[in-house]
């Protein structure tokens, strides 16, 4: 057995750190937070220049051919720095789906622009009445000649206000089981009938409600088969289910350690000497280690072509729940100063603990709630009967 990520992964990690030293700053971190937009033109251009838009893709498709373990190291560093990667993440997720199931025309139009950082693609899955039960989507797409006409409403379309296309899940058949009547489209956002309404969230992230009123999209922009949208969704969501929040726990731990080392009690003793503080730090470090191991296990399984069953959901479930628990613990341990907001000049360690308290809430909800992941673990991993 070997628990190291390997030399090449550590080499990639060093490259990413060097890149972040040059292109990531506290000012950019604050800009991402204040605007609520995890996307930045200059940062994206710098990433493109490095050829790092799709590092896991094969070299002949414009990637770097990094293996899953190298990608773990790259991802850990980018997330630890809170780099503005969300827009790039959704764009490349959709580009990956198009590479897998798209037409030659779609590939030729989208992939070069995505790799060049020239377009932003956003996700239109959730609806007011369809969140975790995403296959219950009711946004309609009706054929009209060689076009489709779209009507409906999507929730949580983050970056729609800067997006060029939305990867839209729409109902094309109401006569069949809900999973079987869905189709995916790549819909241009700059057109009449698309109305974007800002939604602000507890973590500071800006997201959107997007209304579609008689929005037209050519059949050439259908991704995958008519009524075959669930397959395309599965390709997209497989990426999400391999997610984990170890890097966020690492951010929390580092901020708390900085606070504990630099803050003293009324007698001038560093807070790091307090038993309660030490236990909270110790427990956070333990949860970070376990989160890393669960996440790296998924990468190792992917790298060795093993079937990933419950391991992906375990990584996402454990790390998001641990982040929430430890952020709450740490806020209580830090005490009144933990009330001071992220990037308030009076806040200890830039207020990262305060931010993590709010940020963690979303992690147990988006990309499949904890309950959805527990269902997957119970049914697929443990073989328990389906719930009704």
């Amino acid at each position: 057995m070997d628990f190291r990520l390997g030399e090449s992964s550590e080499a990639r990690r060093a490259e990413v750190r060097e890149f972040l030293d040059a292109h990531m700053s506290l000012a950019l971190e604050e800009q991402v937070y204040r605007t609520g937009v995890s996307h930045d033109g200059d940062f994206t251009r710098a990433l493109v220049e490095q050829g790092w838009m799709a590092p896991s893709w094969p070299v002949e498709f414009g990637g770097q051919g990094l293996d899953p373990e190298e990608m773990v190291a790259v991802g850990e560093e980018l997330r630890l720095a809170d780099a503005p990667m969300y827009g790039i993440g959704t764009t490349m997720m959709v580009a990956t789906v198009i590479r897998a199931v798209g037409t030659d025309e779609q590939k030729a139009e989208i992939i070069p622009k995505a790799l060049a950082g020239e377009i932003v693609i956003v996700l239109g899955f959730s609806e007011p009445e369809a969140g975790s039960d995403v296959a219950a989507a009711t946004t309609r797409a009706v054929p009209d000649g060689d076009e489709w006409v779209i009507n409906g409403q999507k929730m949580f379309t983050t970056n729609a206000q800067i997006g060029d296309y939305v990867f839209l899940l729409a109902r094309t058949n109401t006569e069949v089981a809900k999973h079987k009547g869905l189709t995916m489209f790549l819909v241009p956002l700059h057109q009449p009938g698309v109305e974007i309404q800002a939604v602000f969230t507890l973590s500071g992230e800006r997201t959107n409600i997007v209304y579609y009123n008689d929005v037209r999209v050519a059949d050439a922009w259908r991704i995958g088969d008519v009524d075959g949208g669930w397959h395309a969704m599965t390709v997209a969501l497989t990426n999400e289910h391999a997610a984990g929040f170890a890097a966020a726990i690492d951010r929390l731990l580092r901020a708390a350690e900085t606070w504990a080392r630099t803050t003293t009690d009324d007698d001038g003793v560093p807070r790091l000497q307090d038993g309660t503080v030490r236990e909270a730090l110790g427990r956070t470090a333990i949860d970070l280690e376990v989160s890393r191991l669960l996440q790296r296990r998924v990468a190792w399984m992917a790298a060795t072509d093993q079937a990933i069953v419950a391991e992906g959901p375990m990584s996402k479930l454990f790390s998001s729940e641990a982040l929430s628990t430890r952020a709450q613990d740490m806020a209580e341990v830090v005490g009144p100063d933990a009330l001071r907001s992220y990037f308030d000049p009076t806040a200890p360690a830039h207020g990262v603990v305060e931010h993590m308290l709010r940020f963690s809430l979303g992690t147990t909800i988006y990309a499949g709630t904890s309950e959805i992941h527990r269902n997957m673990i119970a049914q697929r991993g443990l073989g328990l009967p389906r719930n009704r």
Binding site: M1, D2, F3, R4, L5, G6, E69, P270, L272, Q273, G275, R278, E279, L281, G282, R283, A285, I286, E289, V290, L293, L294, R296, R297, A299, W300, A303, A310, E311, M314, L317, F318, E371, H373, R374, N375, I377, A378, Q379, G381, L382, G383, L384, P385, R386, N387, R388
Partner: protein, 344 residues
């Protein structure tokens, strides 16, 4: 990165797994209660090399890695082995690291089966050594006194308290005269040797608790997949399935972490002590929660002695608390990361 045990390690797991399947059945575990010692299991474990493997070749052993021992420990925990495996392994490894004739003689006697040494995780208090693990069946106990390491023969004056985990524990009376007259194993390096031994112990117990947790989850899942209430299998209720999913996740994490900690003993010694405490703290809570959830899933049957899950519930607590609480282990993690409390 490679999370698969080597072919040799898989053979080791198979060999010990087969032994436990035969010699540590639930029936045998029950028969060994309340003392928690099955002499036949113990002699078979020793015969298969459980002690020899723990010791390096220079001292007459096979020189297995701590990871090899941890993989066996998982099987031990899965089967609730009523035998002083970790106590004897930890004592022998400590003796092998200790210079001098006294340590060498006791180690040789232990490997020959003539003596059975254990270690006290606690320093003597006014009443003596409390709850010495394997103290009821061992012949000698190694004790740390500040920087010194001494060994005391165990005699008829020990008492054997009944305890929740049915472990062969003993309270051993010691007085200043007995301590002063004891054989000294190490004069100045005692604290260091003891800490290293405790790290081994934490890792092996973590492995056992992880194996125990995984087995408890399986028992709970099997029951929930069979038992019907309100016209469906109870495992289909999310109130049941989600709790099992949580403890299955923690058990998987506990196994990974115990293995990483054991692997680090040779491969990343700078993190050895920190990871050992992490592995113990996490596995202890995983086993605590997995056994509680799996028992609860059984409803009233889980409360009956007849069902095996109670055997797991009791040992998860006994095997943990005889060493330290999960909270104490978390503070030990902090000691390893930031230096001892009061040091900076």
């Amino acid at each position: 990165m490679d999370l698969r045990p080597s072919d040799e390690q898989l053979q080791l797991i198979d060999a010990f797994g087969a032994l436990y399947a035969k010699e540590s059945t639930a029936e045998r575990v029950r028969e060994a209660e309340p003392l928690g010692f099955d002499p036949r299991l113990w002699s078979q474990l020793v015969e298969l090399g459980a002690l020899a493997m723990a010791v390096d070749e220079a001292h007459g052993g096979w020189g297995a890695t701590l990871l090899d021992l941890e993989l066996v420990a998982e099987e031990h925990g899965r089967a609730l082995g009523p035998a002083p495996l970790f106590e004897a392994q930890v004592a022998c490894r400590l003796l092998a690291r200790t210079d001098g004739a006294a340590a060498a003689d006791l180690l040789a006697a232990a490997l020959a089966g003539a003596r059975l040494p254990t270690v006290s995780p606690r320093a003597p208090a006014s009443g003596g050594l409390a709850l010495v693990p394997a103290g009821a069946v061992a012949t000698d106990v190694i004790v740390r006194l500040d920087d010194r390491l001494i060994v005391l023969p165990l005699g008829d004056d020990r008492t054997v308290p009944e305890n929740v985990g049915s472990q062969p524990l003993a309270d051993v009376p010691v007085d200043p005269a007995r301590l002063a007259g004891a054989t000294v194993l190490a004069e100045r390096s005692g604290a260091e040797l003891f800490d290293r031994a405790l790290d081994d112990w934490l890792v092996l117990t973590a492995g056992a608790l992880a194996g125990m947790a995984e087995r408890a989850v399986r028992i709970g899942v099997d029951y929930a997949a069979e038992r019907e209430a309100f016209d469906q299998k109870i495992g289909a209720f999310q109130a049941v399935g989600h709790r099992l999913a949580d403890v299955a996740t923690a058990s998987a994490g506990a196994t990974l972490l115990a293995r990483e900690a054991a692997w680090a003993d040779d491969e990343e010694p700078g993190r050895r002590a920190e990871l050992a405490a992490m592995a113990f703290s996490f596995a202890a809570e995983a086993a605590r929660d997995a056994t509680a959830v799996a028992l609860h899933v059984h409803g009233g049957y889980g409360f009956m002695l007849e069902y095996d899950i109670q055997l797991y519930y009791r040992r998860a607590r006994g095997w943990t608390n005889v060493l330290m609480s999960p909270s104490a282990a978390a503070r030990r993690v902090a000691d390893r990361r930031y230096g001892p409390e009061g040091a900076s």
